[in-house]
Symmetry: C2
Subunit: 269 residues, 2 copies
């Protein structure tokens, strides 16, 4: 995946607080990230490992939090703890994925297949801001961010979120998210395929070249995630954003590759 | 696509009222369906073609309505007309697709990427009934129908539709939809991949072998439709159900193949 090439080129090097990372796939992912030079692991084990790893992040002694063979809920509880956690009050926690889809010429960043059920306008604004910054960190000067809907029409009555899309587009134009192109509502095909856009007679500055997709809700984003991994054999990388430092929360069953790429994504975020 | 083999085997032969079908792709699709023996076209042209074609269906002189080079809204208006249309009062109009995804071993039927925004429980019940019947007509004795969600948990608070899924599962078990297996909430990967199901430790009678997917809403279904066609190069067939006869409403830009397979799907519906 192109993520790691970029980290190498930029000379990025981050300190990773790893919670109980002694299972094979986590250990191998960390070792590979260290040997590629973009990560330095701080191993935290034992019963209160999650709490102590979160403390390392809060004290600025680690740049990223990563979960190994430990219950996801234990880590999330420590992350979200109101006093000792690492989600600042008022910040939006959301899930970002990067997908490398065979046959498609660019990496696609998207949000949110796992955390926010039906984003409010404020949450969606945060999603756009996070993903714009992530694309900038990945070296895309002016990322194209598409606000996904089943078609290209704003319909306040049936789909209130499409009216919010129009607002985000304006906020992007006045520079709220830095250099980027935000457009929508647009459907997935129009967003990722210039020919489809032209066939439908749609004129959008995304021009079928979306770098990032903001899905309307968790159901649509989750279907995209599962479809590209199952049917397209896409490689994916996932991280949580909104916290003081990015959090990598792989499933136990995830492969070494998947954990390695997620770590790389977190190092960019 | 396996649809046409089945039509041949069963000796199906339907009368198609074709509205302004003189464009190349519609004409070629119809000719191919006629030469394969499962369709007999009744061509209806001129200014009031949509109204007259709908009348043929209402009078029982045509089994399927198909749109050619004419505005979709004109056809829909005639179909939905309260006095002279073909949607019986109280019937649910919904959109069904069949997708043949390269590398996947079975055809997947799914609903609804195009018509109903957020199905009510009554509309979703109709979707299950239609798709069960379609699978039966396709020769699947006991179709496996998966109710899609981002995970396998019922959550009345955040996702009220998952509580509805539990009801549908019970209705299926007492035989309301004929012989079929209905389960959910299940995510897309668990529904279509036995290994994913086992890795997650989920026990479902769908067993990763879903014949049909009921998506929670139009956004998720539309993303699935666009993702499998754009990134997996799936062949698809689409039709509207709920009307007195299935309606085929291709886009002008659809290929001959796509129109031909949609006609085949309608002949099964």
């Amino acid at each position: 995946m192109q993520l790691t090439e970029h980290l190498r080129k930029e000379g990025v090097r981050k300190r990773i607080a790893v919670v109980c990372g002694n299972d094979d796939s986590t250990r191998h992912a960390i070792e590979r990230a260290e040997s590629e030079g973009f990560a330095e692991a701080i191993r935290v084990d034992g019963d209160d490992a999650a709490v102590r790893a979160v403390e390392l992040v809060r004290e600025g002694r680690a740049d990223i939090l990563m979960k190994g063979l430990v219950n996801t809920n234990d880590v999330l509880r420590a992350v979200l703890d109101k006093e000792k956690g690492i989600l600042p009050k008022g910040k939006v926690l959301t899930h970002i994925t990067a997908a490398d889809i065979p046959g498609h010429d660019k990496l696609i960043f998207f949000t949110d297949p796992a955390v926010i059920p039906y984003p409010t306008q404020e949450q969606r604004r945060a999603q756009v801001a996070y993903i714009a910054r992530l694309c900038h960190n990945f070296g895309i000067d002016e990322p194209r961010i598409s606000l996904i809907h089943c078609n290209e029409k704003v319909s306040e009555k049936h789909f209130p979120h499409t009216a919010g899309y129009a607002e985000l587009r304006e906020e992007a134009m006045r520079g709220d998210f830095g250099a980027c192109i935000v457009d929508g509502p647009l459907d997935l095909k129009t967003s990722c395929c210039l020919k489809s856009m032209q066939t439908k007679g749609i004129d959008s500055p995304i021009a079928g070249q979306a770098d990032a997709l903001i899905f309307p809700d968790i159901e649509a984003a989750n279907v995209f995630y599962k479809t590209v991994t199952l049917f397209c054999h896409a490689e994916t990388a996932c991280a949580l954003q909104g916290t003081l430092a990015p959090v990598v929360l792989p499933s136990r069953a995830d492969s070494t590759d998947s954990k390695f790429y997620s770590l790389a994504l977190a190092c960019l975020a």
